[in-house]
C-alpha cells in the first residue's frame, strides 16, 4: 500500500486541519491603542463625586506615606524604601476597587495599596525595618505578604482565586506586578493557568518605565505589555496609570467580569517612578531629569485635583483636610517607627514548622544558653560598674 491509498480525497488538501477552529476571537482581547483616560474627557462628568474624593484623599495620604517612609530611611529608622511617588493612582485605585472578601497580592513596591486596603501603615514597613519578614496577618485584610522575588506572587494569586471559585465563594483576586516582573517565567505561567482555569483574578502591571535602571525598551519589544493578554486568551486593557478614576474603572470592570465567571484580565497601567528605585539608588546614572519633569506635569494628584476643583467637588478647605489627615497618619507612623520593636530571638525557631523538630529544639536550646550567658555577663558587668 502506498501512502496515497489512505482515506481522503483531493479535496482534503484545501481544507483546514480537521479540528481547526479558532477558539477565541482575538479582536476583543486586544487592548486599546492609547491608554484609556477619563479625567479631562467628557466621561469625567459622570464620575461619582464620593469616589473622586475618596481617591483624592488616599492619593494625598499615599504620597505623604512615601515621603515619610523615605524620610525614615534618612533617619536610619528604615533600612531601605522603594517609593511609589508618581504611582499613587495605580496603588490606591487597586485597593479601592476591591471588596472586603477579595484578596490583594502586592509586589514589594506596593505598600500604598496595602495600606489603602486597611493594613496598619507601620505594619507595611516591618519587612523593610527588619523586625520580621512580614508585618501583618494576611488573613485580616486579605492581603498577601509584600512579595520580593518578582512575579512569584502571581501563581499564588491564581491558585487562591481558583480555590475560592472551587469553594463557590464570591472572592476575586487582584495581583500586582511591575513592568520588569512581566519578563519572568512565573508571569507567563501564572497568566496561562489563570486563563485555562478561568480563575477570578485580575493582573495589574504598573509599567513605571523602569526595572531599577533598565528602561522598558530593554525589557520588551511588544506594542504594549497589555498586548501579552491575547497570547493567553484573556482581555488586555491599557490605561493611563496616573488617571485614578480611569484605573479604578478599568479595575472594577475587570474584577466584576472575574466575579461573574468571565475569567482573568491583564491590565497595563502606564505610569512613572518619579523617585529613584529606592533611597539607595542613584537614578541620575540612567535617566534624564527632563524625563522626570515631563512626568511631574502629568502628576496623578494634580490631575485629579483639577477635576475636583473644576467640578467644585473640593475647595482649599477640602484639600487642607486631606492633607491634615495625611499628616496625622504620617505623625503616627513616625512615632511608631521611632519606637524600637521588641523582638525575641527565640522566635526564630517558632514558625519554621508546625511542631519544632528535634533538630530545631536542640538549636533553640543552644541559642537560649548563649542568650542566658550573655545576659549573665551583662548583669555581672552591670554589677561590676
Amino acid at each position: 500500500m502506498t501512502v496515497l491509498e489512505q482515506p481522503g480525497t483531493a479535496d482534503h488538501r484545501n481544507t483546514p486541519p480537521p479540528d481547526w477552529h479558532p477558539r477565541t476571537d482575538p479582536a476583543p482581547l486586544l487592548p486599546e491603542r492609547e491608554p484609556y483616560r477619563v479625567l479631562g474627557t467628557p466621561a469625567a462628568a459622570g464620575l461619582d463625586p464620593a469616589l473622586l474624593r475618596r481617591l483624592h484623599a488616599e492619593l494625598v495620604r499615599g504620597r505623604r506615606y512615601n515621603r515619610q517612609a523615605t524620610a525614615l530611611t534618612q533617619q536610619g529608622r528604615l533600612a531601605v524604601y522603594p517609593s511609589s511617588t508618581g504611582q499613587e493612582a495605580c496603588q490606591v485605585a487597586a485597593a479601592l476597587a476591591l471588596r472586603p472578601q477579595d484578596w490583594l497580592f502586592p509586589s514589594y513596591r506596593d505598600t500604598l495599596a496595602v495600606v489603602a486596603r486597611g493594613v496598619e501603615p507601620v505594619e507595611a514597613l516591618t519587612l523593610l525595618r527588619g523586625d520580621w519578614h512580614s508585618g501583618y496577618d494576611p488573613r485580616t485584610h486579605r492581603v498577601a505578604p509584600l512579595c520580593t522575588p518578582l512575579a512569584t506572587q502571581l501563581p499564588h494569586a491564581v491558585g487562591l482565586a481558583h480555590a475560592a471559585r472551587l469553594k463557590g465563594d464570591d472572592t476575586v483576586v487582584l495581583a500586582l506586578v511591575g513592568d520588569g516582573g512581566t519578563s519572568e517565567g512565573d508571569f507567563h505561567e501564572a497568566l496561562n493557568f489563570a486563563a485555562v482555569w478561568q480563575a477570578p483574578v485580575v493582573f495589574l502591571v504598573q509599567n513605571n518605565g523602569f526595572a531599577i535602571s533598565v528602561p522598558l525598551e530593554k525589557q520588551t519589544a511588544a506594542p504594549s505589555l497589555a498586548h501579552k493578554a491575547v497570547g493567553y486568551g484573556m482581555p488586555g486593557r491599557l490605561v493611563d496609570g496616573n488617571d485614578a478614576p480611569a484605573v479604578h474603572e478599568v479595575l472594577v470592570e475587570a474584577l466584576e467580569r472575574a466575579r461573574n465567571g468571565g475569567g482573568p484580565t491583564l491590565i497595563e497601567a502606564v505610569t512613572y517612578r518619579i523617585e529613584a528605585h529606592t533611597n539607595a539608588d542613584d537614578a541620575t546614572r540612567y535617566r534624564d531629569q527632563a524625563e522626570v519633569e515631563q512626568w511631574r506635569a502629568h502628576d496623578p494628584i494634580a490631575l485629579l485635583e483639577r477635576e475636583l476643583r473644576d467640578r467644585a467637588l473640593i475647595d482649599d478647605e477640602g484639600i487642607r483636610e486631606a492633607e491634615a489627615a495625611a499628616e496625622a497618619m504620617a505623625a503616627t507612623l513616625r512615632d511608631r517607627m521611632n519606637t524600637d520593636p521588641v523582638l525575641d530571638p527565640m522566635e526564630l525557631f517558632e514558625h519554621v514548622y508546625a511542631e519544632q523538630t528535634t533538630q530545631l529544639r536542640e538549636q533553640a536550646a543552644q541559642l537560649r544558653a548563649e542568650l542566658d550567658a550573655e545576659a549573665e555577663f551583662h548583669a555581672e558587668e552591670g554589677e561590676g560598674r
Binding site: 520580621w132 519578614h133 512580614s134 496577618d137 494576611p138 488573613r139 498577601a144 505578604p145 522575588p149 512569584t152 502571581l154 501563581p155 499564588h156 494569586a157 491564581v158 491558585g159 487562591l160 482565586a161 481558583h162 480555590a163 475560592a164 472551587l166 469553594k167 517565567g185 512565573d186 507567563h188 505561567e189 501564572a190 496561562n192 493557568f193 485555562v196 522566635e347 517558632e350 514558625h351 519554621v352 514548622y353 508546625a354 511542631e355 523538630t357 528535634t358 533538630q359
Partner: protein
C-alpha cells in the same frame, strides 16, 4: 495537624500489592477523608499519571479535585501555594525528579518559608510527590536523586518510603501534615510487592521516625528509599563473611531521627551510609557528620559513605556502574577497620 482517618471500610484481606498501588490508595483515602485534598499536575487526571499512581482518582472525585494542569512546574507549585493559602490541601505531582527543578524557586523562596514569613498565619500543607532515583533505564533527566537540595532547605519535610506499607502510611501522614512535605517516591520500587491489605485500617506512622529493618550487632547500614533493598541484600550476603549488619531505614530525612540512628550506631560501633545520589554534599554527608558528632567515642572506624559517583547521572547502559550495589556496600563494610576485633 489534621488527623488522618482510617480508609473507608471494605472487604479486607492481605494480598500482594505494589508500592504504586499503595500510593494510589493513600491518595484515594486521603481525598475521601478530607474534601480539602486536591490532586493536580501534569497528566494526573485522565491518564492517571505516567506511573498510573493517580489512576481512577479523576473518575472518583471529578476534574475539580483531580486536575490536569498546563505543562509548567513552577506554575503547578506556585498555584498550590495560593490554594493552600485558601485552606485547601494540595497534593501535586512532579512528573520526574529533574522536572521538579523549574519549581525550585517557588519551593525554596515560598513553600519552605511562608509559615515562617507570616509568623504562622499562613501554613502551607502542600505535599509534593516526586518520583526519584535511577535503576529504571531512564533517559537523561529521568533518574536524578535530588533529595540533597530539599533537605538543606529549612521549612520543608523530606520523606521517602522504602516499603509498600510505608508508601501508604507516610503518604497519608504527609498529606495530613500542616507543613509542606517533599515526598520522594523511589521509582524503581514502584512495582515492588509486599503482602499488604489496602482494606484493613492502616497505620499512619508519625513523620520523622526511622525504622530498624534488620537488627544486627556488627555494624549499622543507614539508608533510605531505593537503597533499602540493596542494604538488605548486602546484610544477607554479609552473614557469610561473618558480619551481622543492622539496617536502619530513615523514612524521613527531615526531621531526622537522631535517636534511632545513634542508638544503633552506639550499639554496633560502626556505620556505613548508603544512598544513590552523588556523594559530594549528599544526604550521606550530613548523616555521617552528625552521627560522628554524636557517637564519636563509640566509633571503631569512621562512618563511611557508599553513594553515587560525583558525575551527572549516567546513561542507562552504564547506570549499574554508578548505582551502589550490595558489593560496594560490602566493600565499605570491609573497610570498617575490623583488624582490632
Amino acid at each position: 495537624m489534621s488527623t488522618a482517618t482510617a480508609p473507608s471500610a471494605a472487604p479486607t484481606g492481605r494480598k500482594p500489592a505494589t508500592m504504586a498501588q499503595a500510593l494510589g490508595r493513600a491518595l484515594r483515602d486521603a481525598m475521601a477523608a478530607d474534601p480539602a485534598v486536591h490532586v493536580f499536575g501534569e497528566d494526573v487526571g485522565t491518564l492517571g499519571g505516567v506511573f498510573r499512581i493517580t489512576d481512577g482518582l479523576a473518575k472518583e472525585f471529578g476534574a475539580d479535585r483531580v486536575t490536569d494542569t498546563p505543562l509548567a512546574e513552577a506554575g503547578i507549585l506556585g498555584t498550590a501555594v495560593g490554594m493552600a493559602m485558601y485552606g485547601l490541601r494540595p497534593v501535586v505531582e512532579m512528573q520526574f525528579d529533574a522536572f521538579a527543578y523549574p519549581a525550585l524557586e517557588q519551593l525554596i523562596s515560598h513553600v519552605a518559608r511562608m509559615r515562617n514569613r507570616t509568623r504562622g498565619a499562613l501554613p502551607l500543607p502542600i505535599t509534593i510527590r516526586v518520583p526519584y532515583g535511577g535503576g529504571i533505564g531512564g533517559v537523561e533527566h529521568h533518574s536524578d536523586s535530588s533529595e540533597a537540595y530539599y533537605l538543606h532547605t529549612p521549612g520543608l519535610h523530606v520523606v521517602t518510603p522504602a516499603t509498600v506499607a510505608d508508601a501508604y502510611g507516610l503518604l497519608r501522614a504527609s498529606i495530613a501534615s500542616d507543613d509542606p512535605v517533599v515526598f520522594l517516591e523511589p521509582k524503581r520500587l514502584y512495582w515492588s510487592k509486599a503482602e499488604w491489605s489496602a482494606d484493613a485500617p492502616q497505620q499512619v506512622p508519625p513523620l520523622g521516625r526511622a525504622a530498624v529493618r534488620r537488627t544486627g550487632r556488627s555494624a549499622t547500614l543507614i539508608t533510605y528509599g531505593p537503597s533499602l533493598p540493596v542494604c538488605l541484600e548486602a546484610a544477607e550476603l554479609a552473614v557469610e563473611e561473618g558480619w551481622d549488619l543492622e539496617v536502619v531505614d530513615l523514612r524521613s530525612l527531615v526531621p531526622f531521627d537522631d535517636e534511632t540512628v545513634c542508638a544503633s550506631v552506639r550499639r554496633t560501633g560502626r556505620a556505613v551510609v548508603v544512598h544513590e545520589s552523588s556523594g559530594f554534599g549528599g544526604a550521606g554527608a550530613e548523616i555521617a557528620a552528625r552521627v560522628t558528632e554524636r557517637c564519636f567515642h563509640h566509633l571503631e572506624a569512621p562512618v563511611l559513605r557508599v553513594a553515587g559517583f560525583d558525575i551527572p547521572y549516567p546513561p542507562p547502559m552504564l547506570e549499574r556502574h554508578h548505582l551502589p550495589g550490595a558489593d560496594r556496600v560490602l566493600d565499605a563494610v570491609a573497610r570498617l577497620q575490623w583488624e582490632g576485633n
